[in-house]
Amino acid sequence: MTVQTTRRNFLRGGAATAAVLIIGSRPDGAVAAASGDKAMFNPFVKIDAEGTVTAIIKHFEKGQGPATGLSTLIAEEIGLRMDQIEYEFAPSNPKIYNNLAFGPFQGTGGSTAMANSYQQYRTAGAAAREMLIIAAAQSWGVEASTLSIEEGMVTGAEQSAPLGEFVAAASSLEAPAAPRLKDPSEFRLIGNAEVRRVDSVIKGNGTAQFAMDVHLPNQMVAMIARPEQRGGLVRSFDDNGSKEVMGYINAATLPNNAGVAVYAETTWAAMQARDALEVEWDLDAAEARSSDEIHSEIMAALEAEPQYNVSKTDLAATQSAIGDAAQVVEQAFYFPLLAHAPMEPLNCTIEATADGGVILHDGAQMPTGPHFALSQILGLPMEKIQINTMLAGGSFGRRATPDADYQTEAALAFSMTDRSRPVKLVWSREDDLRSGYYRPAFGHKVRVGLDADGAIVGWEHRIAGQSVIKGTPFEAMIVHEGIDHSSVEGTADTAYDIPNGFFGLTDTPKATTTLWWRSVGHTHTAFVMEVMMDMAAKAAGQDPIEYRLGYLTGGTKDQQRLAAVLKLAAEKAGWGNVAEGRAQGIAVHKSFGSYVAEVVEISGNADSGVKIENVTCVVDCGLPVNPDVIKAQMEGGIGYGIGHVMRDQITLTGGAVDQYNFPDYEPLRISDIAAIDVHIVPSAEAPTGVGEPGVPPAAPALANAIAAASAELRVSAMPMVENCVDFV
């Protein structure tokens, strides 16, 4: 007889019961447990009778690492090795799995996954540990305080047994209201750079399942024919050509007339049948403007008095101070529309269940949104809808549409069928780039007055662009006194002690459908703030780092942490000691609670061609839960920030997007950045964001390096390749 020694068997206890221990912490901090398949209250930890521990992950995994990070918190507090914990994604239930930063809404975004889960998941793990220990103490007749759990074994002075042996008894105990969390000195996994990702193996051998990989029995694939101009409506269609395609099933106009759903047996058949479909569109209400008009509108808005006084300061006083300045540094900036272009084209699948409900299979970033949308469209109560959150092939914000756009399309396509066959909605890359939601275009105009010593005496800063948030359910949370905070974050709230600062915002009319894009407003505000600081430093004849440090001396925590990352970045990058033909640029920015400084070192210049030789990054994101995941997020954020300013933009002609696929929206490639070196500041502060904060300083640091190498050429309109900068 062969005995298998899998880790499940290792953890298996003696009791062959069917008990399952589910533990979690309520939003109010209390803890509850439920056993068996009874109503489960707020479960973050599941332990079955075999002793298998499963972390229930409330944030979706798009590569940023919450499956690893949240599993680590549970494993740490219970006392497990990382190979003794499994994970699964939480079902859609905003009462239990809400993002604590979002209110009663389940979703991932704003780089909050670790920040809002750190105490919650540790508490859940600690409660499990205490209950298992109490059960073991009762079983052995010893004091609970003499027991601990290490590597899945409950251990005392005399005995040791796998924790699985105590699951049945523990599940009948009352959960502790305030379990003791481990002291950081006891951490073995949190902060340990050797802890590996939990999803590396499956993502390297082809077994990882993304929503695109769903193949349900008898499923249909639906693709949507959409108008070239957003807002166009279907007048009529002719599917005679589609009928020639093997595997074509049918086509039907969506109930909202926004497009035609083309149903086929396979993805390829759906693509061909959609290509063969002829649709007549009603474009009366469709977008018709071009990017040139949008650009002109934004730049004109910068010349008028701003609609909103963001800094609540006196514009006249600022202008007066600048009027008296010894010299004025002035620059206008323009940032175009950008697409998110996650690697996995958008898709999701809806299938009917035997009880008259449905399951949505989706790389769901904000499950509450599609949950509600499906309920409305399919006429089902919320409890009849399940969401199976799957691995997501990137997002960068694209999957977090407030209107649940692609899930709504899938629900509409499903609603038009007899619901007997699952419907998989698939977007092509062209759909993604041309029918997408974009980082809005923004313009800035800044005037900085300097005195005879080069010190700032006034800073007038105007911002104009389309609000992402207005008109969405997030308006109440993010828009205050008319100001969409996501349009201006990182400017008026700067940590620099700027005298006579004025920051104003003008909303420009809707140009197209816009959406938050990795690091949101910071994508343009950090660029402008950090390029202007660089220009001011150069005008003052001072070192850019020393100059910045001079405005961070007020003693606030923000200033201290920004100054610290600046200094460390300077040290790690060998600031000022570059080889002949090389140049450096620096930028520093706080976003999503984290402080990041980046130094970009280049060779060449704007004329001869710029080569990015190295990026040095220093991040202070509080206590680093998984240092290697943090480094990876900084590496990725730097690539995302730099890749887009180098050569990407979405443009419109007569309302239609000009770009079709990656050749027109060229991604960052492996040869674009020769090296990235990330350093993490040790910290005991609460963990803050890492998914987005690496992005904002990267582009301005590159721009500042290019200026240093190129006779102070200030590239101020993006993408750089369209504005006098060549890359090699």
């Binding site: 590569g63 590396s200 390297g204 051998n205 693509m271 092939g393 890359r429 730097i638 690539g639």
Partner: protein, 154 residues
Amino acid sequence: MTISLNLNGKTHDVDAEPGTPLLWVIRDELKMTGTKFGCGVASCGACTVHVDGEPVRSCQTYIEDVGESEITTIEAMSDTEIGAAVQQAWVELDVVQCGYCQSGQIMSAVGLLTENPKPSVEDIDNYMYGNACRCATYQRIRAGVQRASEILEA
């Protein structure tokens, strides 16, 4: 029409029209989902498979052109010495983020190491140029190829 495919050492009879990309036969007919759809125009490399040992973009490889060739997908990579080394290196360095492009990255990396066991950084950048990663895991891809080369040399 019925076509016989030699894929991962087995023969599969599939029903597909001429002009059907190999990608969609692998994914939708054979339901092997490790090979990914990313762009459909051979610009991202997510669909990379090997045909007679050479990496090709399966979204632009038509089923009627494959003939008797040996097709290998990510699902069979662990059975090869180089494939296993690359996968080991990828796990050691935690190369992946979202992971959607990584099957294609690994298929290209295996192609590179097959023809060039000790590639320079420039060799890696040139060979891997066509494999896009929107998460920008490129630093680790580069290091992963170098680590796999070390593993193979040992």
